[in-house]
C-alpha cells in the first residue's frame, strides 16, 4: 500500500464562485481611483504624498501587528490598504506626515487589530481614526484652515462650514454641477462627486458592496434634508447641496458599506442606511459639528448588532413565543 495515490479529501461543496477578500479589496481601490486622481490633480504632490503614505503606513501597521500577535501575515488581503486609502481620501491634502502615521495607527491597531483583525471590528476603522484625529487636532481636520494656501479657481471655503456659519444665502455661489465636478475643497478623495458615484455604481453592480446600504443612506440624507428645507428654506439648505458636499458620497459608497460594521439582512440594511443619513443631516443642521457623516456612521455601527437581529424566519422554524 506504500505507493497508493493520495487524494485530496474535504467536505462538499467542491466548487467555489471564485470570490475572495483580496479581489474585493482591490476592486474597492479600483473604484476609488477616479475620486483620488481628481484630488491629486487638484492638490498636486502633497495629495499624492498623503494617499501613498497613508496606504503604506496602514499596511506596515498591519504587518507589525501580525508579527507581534504571531498571526498569519494578512496584508495580502488588501484590507489594510483599503483602510489606508480611505483615511487618505478623507484627510485634507496639507495633512502633516505624523498625523497620517498616527491616523493609520488608530485605524489599524485601535480600530481593527485589537478587536481581532478583519471581520471582527465593530466600527469602521477608517472612521475611528478620523473621529479621533478630529477630536484631538481640530485645526488639521478644519478644511478652511488646512487648505488656506491653495488657490484652485473655485471658492476656497468648505461648503458645509459656509452653510453652518453664514447661512443658506452664502452657499448660492456653489452650483450643484460644480460640486458634482469637484469644485469644492474637502478631503483629497471625497470632493469629486461624479467620480465617487461612478465608483459606487461599479461596486454595486459587481456586488462588492451592499446596494441597500448605499442607496438607503443617500435616501436618508435626501429625505431628511428635503424635510428641513421644506420646513424653513431660509435656514436649511436643499437636499442636493447635502448630497454633494462633505463626506456624503464617500460615506454612502465606501464608508457605511464596510462589511464587518454593517448589517447583512435586508430590513436592517435599510434601517441602518436611512438612519445614518438621517443622523448626518441632523448633525449638520442642528448639531454642533460641520459635517455629520463620520459620527452618524459610527453611531449606526454601534447599533449594527442590534439592528441585525431583525431577520426573516428561517424555513421550518417554529415561533416559540406565539
Amino acid at each position: 500500500m506504500d505507493n497508493r495515490k493520495l487524494f485530496v479529501s474535504s467536505h462538499a461543496p467542491y466548487w467555489h464562485n471564485g470570490s475572495s477578500i483580496a479581489s474585493k479589496s482591490y476592486n474597492i481601490m479600483l473604484a476609488a481611483i477616479p475620486a483620488v486622481l481628481m484630488g491629486i490633480y487638484q492638490y498636486g504632490a502633497p495629495a499624492l504624498g498623503v494617499i501613498t503614505f497613508s496606504i503604506s503606513c496602514a499596511m506596515i501597521w498591519e504587518l507589525v501587528m501580525n508579527l507581534i500577535m504571531k498571526r498569519p501575515i494578512s496584508i495580502g488581503d488588501g484590507n489594510a490598504a483599503v483602510i489606508g486609502l480611505m483615511i487618505g481620501m478623507l484627510l485634507p491634502a496639507a495633512t502633516p506626515w505624523w498625523v497620517v502615521l498616527i491616523g493609520t495607527f488608530l485605524a489599524i491597531v485601535v480600530g481593527k487589530q485589537i478587536f481581532g483583525g478583519i471581520g471582527c471590528n465593530p466600527l469602521n476603522p477608517a472612521l475611528v481614526a478620523i473621529a479621533m484625529l478630529f477630536l484631538s487636532w481640530k485645526g488639521i481636520m478644519d478644511f478652511n484652515e488646512a487648505l488656506l494656501n491653495y488657490e484652485l479657481g473655485f471658492p476656497m471655503v468648505y461648503p458645509l462650514s459656509t452653510l453652518k456659519y453664514f447661512g443658506v444665502e452664502a452657499i448660492s455661489e456653489f452650483s450643484a454641477g460644480a460640486l458634482l465636478m469637484g469644485a469644492q475643497i474637502g478631503g483629497i478623495g471625497s470632493t469629486f462627486g461624479l467620480g465617487l458615484i461612478i465608483g459606487g455604481i461599479y461596486l454595486i453592480l459587481r456586488g462588492f458592496i451592499r446596494w441597500e446600504i448605499a442607496l438607503s443612506f443617500l435616501a436618508g440624507v435626501f429625505i431628511t434634508a428635503l424635510i428641513f428645507n421644506a420646513a424653513n428654506p431660509d435656514v436649511y439648505a436643499g437636499p442636493f447641496f447635502h448630497l454633494l458636499t462633505g463626506y456624503t458620497l464617500i460615506g454612502a459608497f465606501f464608508l457605511s458599506t464596510e462589511d464587518s460594521s454593517s448589517p447583512v439582512n435586508f430590513i436592517p440594511m435599510l434601517i441602518y442606511g436611512a438612519l445614518a443619513g438621517f443622523l448626518t443631516v441632523l448633525i449638520r443642521n442642528i448639531g454642533a459639528m460641520v459635517d455629520g457623516v463620520v459620527f452618524a456612521i459610527l453611531m449606526l455601527n454601534l447599533a449594527n448588532p442590534l439592528l441585525d437581529k431583525i431577520r426573516p424566519k428561517a424555513l421550518g422554524k417554529e415561533m416559540e413565543n406565539a
Binding site: K5, F7, V8, N17, R210, D259, N265
Partner: protein, 429 residues
C-alpha cells in the same frame, strides 16, 4: 466550475445540467469487474457472529442475513464467492460491513427473488427490494413511521452537472408507469406525483400520474425545496418530509422496481453520471458493487496523486480517499476533480460580507451561525441561529469570500448535536 458573473449583486444562479442535446443519448455499459464490494448497514458487533463466511457461494438476487441476531440483510448484485467481510464506517460514522465478492462471469439468478417480489407481502418484498439501484432505502417507504399520503417520484437530479434521473425520465417514461403502479401496491396506495424539470414535462406525462414541474435552478431539486415550492408544505426544522407523510423516491428507483417485478430478476445496474476532470459528463450503466476504479479505467480517466474523487456532484457529493470504493445503490454521480481545479479553504474569519445570507434558500443567518459553530456552540446554534433548518445545499460555502468551510461546520454541528441527543437519551434510560 461556475464562477461568479462579472456583474452580480444578487443571488448566485446555478442551473442544473439539461439533457436537451442528442449527444447525451448514448449510455456506456461498464463490464462487470472481477471483484465487487457490497455495503450493509449493520452494527459492528455483527461481524462476530456472521451467518456466512469467506468462500460461500452467492447468487445474484440472493438475500442474506448478516447474522442470526440482526435484522440487517443485503441482496447480492453479483454471482460469485464471498472473499472477505470487514468493518467500515460510512458518512457521519454510520457503521457498515463491507462484503467483498469474487465475481464469476455468468450470472445465476436466485429463484426466491422472483417469488418474494410477486407475493406483494410488505415484509418479504421489503427484505429483497431494500436496496434497489436508485432506491437505496425502499423500506422507509414500505414501513413509514407516519402513514404515507404522498410519494414524490423525483425526476430531478440532486446536484449540478448530473443527468442520471433526467435520463431515466427521458428514456424510460413507460417503465415509470408500471413501476409507480407496483409502488402504490406495496406502500398502501398513496398519491404519487412525478416532479421533473420543466423541459421534461412532455416525457413525464407518459407516466400517467400527476406531473409537477420545477425550474431547473439549484437547489430546487432538494426534497425540502420540492416540499416548499411544489407541494406547498414546510418541513419543520430538524425533521424530514416523512414526518409530514411525504416520501421521496428517485425516478430510477421506480424504474428499478418495474424491472424487478416484470422480469423477476433483481435490477443490478445503476446509472451513474461520470464527471471528468474537464467537467464533461458521460452517463454509464454499471453493476452496483463495482469498484470506482473499474469505471474510471473503462472511461480512461486517470486519477493522480493530489486529485479529488467525489461520489456525487460538485455541491453535495462526498469526497472519498480510495478508488476501491464501490458504486452504491444511491450513487448518482462520480466526479473527478484535477488538482489544478481544487479550491482550498482559507483561514480568514467571517468578514460579514453577507453573500451567504443572499444565497441561503432557507434564510438562515449563516454569518452568525458560523461564528457559533467555529466555537463549538452547537446547542446555541440550533436554538438561536437555525442550524437545523439547513437543507444542506452547500451554497453558503460556494459563495463564501473568506472561503470558510461553512457547509462542513454545519454538518459537524448537526452531527455533534445528534451525539448529544443520543447521550441524553441513554442517560435518561
Amino acid at each position: 466550475m461556475i464562477k461568479r458573473p462579472f456583474f452580480g449583486c444578487g443571488k448566485p444562479k446555478l442551473a442544473y445540467a439539461g439533457i436537451d442535446g442528442p449527444e447525451q443519448g448514448d449510455i456506456k455499459d461498464i463490464p462487470v469487474s472481477e471483484r465487487a464490494v457490497l455495503f450493509v448497514e449493520a452494527p459492528p458487533s455483527a461481524i462476530n457472529d456472521l451467518s456466512f463466511q469467506a468462500g460461500d457461494k452467492i447468487k445474484t438476487g440472493q438475500n442474506l442475513r448478516v447474522s442470526p441476531f440482526s435484522k440487517a440483510a443485503f441482496t447480492s448484485t453479483v454471482t460469485g464467492a464471498i472473499s472477505n467481510v470487514a468493518k467500515k464506517k460510512g458518512y457521519l460514522g454510520k457503521p457498515l460491513l463491507s462484503v467483498s465478492i469474487d465475481v464469476t462471469e455468468t450470472d445465476e439468478f436466485d429463484e426466491d427473488f422472483a417469488r418474494a417480489v410477486q407475493t406483494e407481502e410488505p415484509e418479504e418484498t421489503g427484505r429483497y427490494l431494500s436496496e434497489l439501484p436508485g432506491a437505496a432505502d425502499l423500506n422507509a417507504l414500505i414501513h413509514p413511521k407516519t402513514p404515507l399520503e404522498t410519494i414524490v417520484v423525483n425526476g430531478m437530479d440532486k446536484d449540478l452537472l448530473v443527468t442520471t434521473q433526467q435520463m431515466i425520465v427521458k428514456s424510460k417514461a413507460d417503465d415509470l408507469k408500471e413501476g409507480i403502479e407496483y409502488l402504490k401496491k406495496i406502500t398502501g396506495n398513496p398519491k404519487v406525483v412525478l416532479v421533473v424539470p420543466n423541459y421534461l414535462s412532455t416525457e413525464a406525462s407518459k407516466s400517467g400520474v400527476e406531473v409537477l414541474t420545477v425550474a431547473p435552478s439549484y437547489p430546487n431539486s432538494l426534497p425540502e425545496m420540492i416540499m416548499k415550492d411544489v407541494l406547498k408544505k414546510v418541513v419543520p426544522a430538524g425533521m424530514d418530509s416523512m414526518s409530514l407523510g411525504v416520501g421521496f423516491i428517485s425516478a430510477e428507483g421506480v424504474a428499478s422496481l418495474k424491472s424487478a417485478v416484470t422480469e423477476g430478476k433483481p435490477p443490478v445496474a445503476k446509472m451513474v453520471t461520470v464527471i471528468g476532470k474537464d467537467e464533461k459528463t458521460q452517463v454509464v450503466r454499471v453493476r452496483v458493487g463495482t469498484p470506482i476504479h473499474s469505471v474510471l479505467e473503462a472511461l480512461q480517466i486517470p486519477m493522480e496523486q493530489g486529485d479529488r474523487l467525489v461520489m456525487g456532484g460538485p455541491m453535495t457529493g462526498r469526497s472519498i480517499y480510495t478508488e476501491e470504493m464501490p458504486i452504491l445503490p444511491d450513487t448518482d454521480a462520480i466526479m473527478v476533480q484535477g488538482r489544478d481545479r481544487i479550491v482550498l479553504n482559507g483561514n480568514d474569519p467571517c468578514i460579514n460580507c453577507g453573500e451567504c445570507i443572499r444565497a441561503c434558500p432557507v434564510r438562515i443567518p449563516v454569518n452568525m451561525l458560523v461564528r457559533l459553530l467555529e466555537n463549538s456552540q452547537y446547542e446555541n446554534a440550533a436554538r438561536e441561529y437555525d442550524l437545523l433548518s439547513c437543507i444542506e445545499c452547500g451554497l453558503c460555502s460556494y459563495v463564501c469570500e473568506a472561503k470558510i468551510p461553512v457547509f462542513h461546520y454545519i454538518m459537524l454541528g448537526k452531527y455533534e448535536l445528534s451525539l448529544m441527543e443520543r447521550a441524553e437519551e441513554s442517560a435518561n434510560g
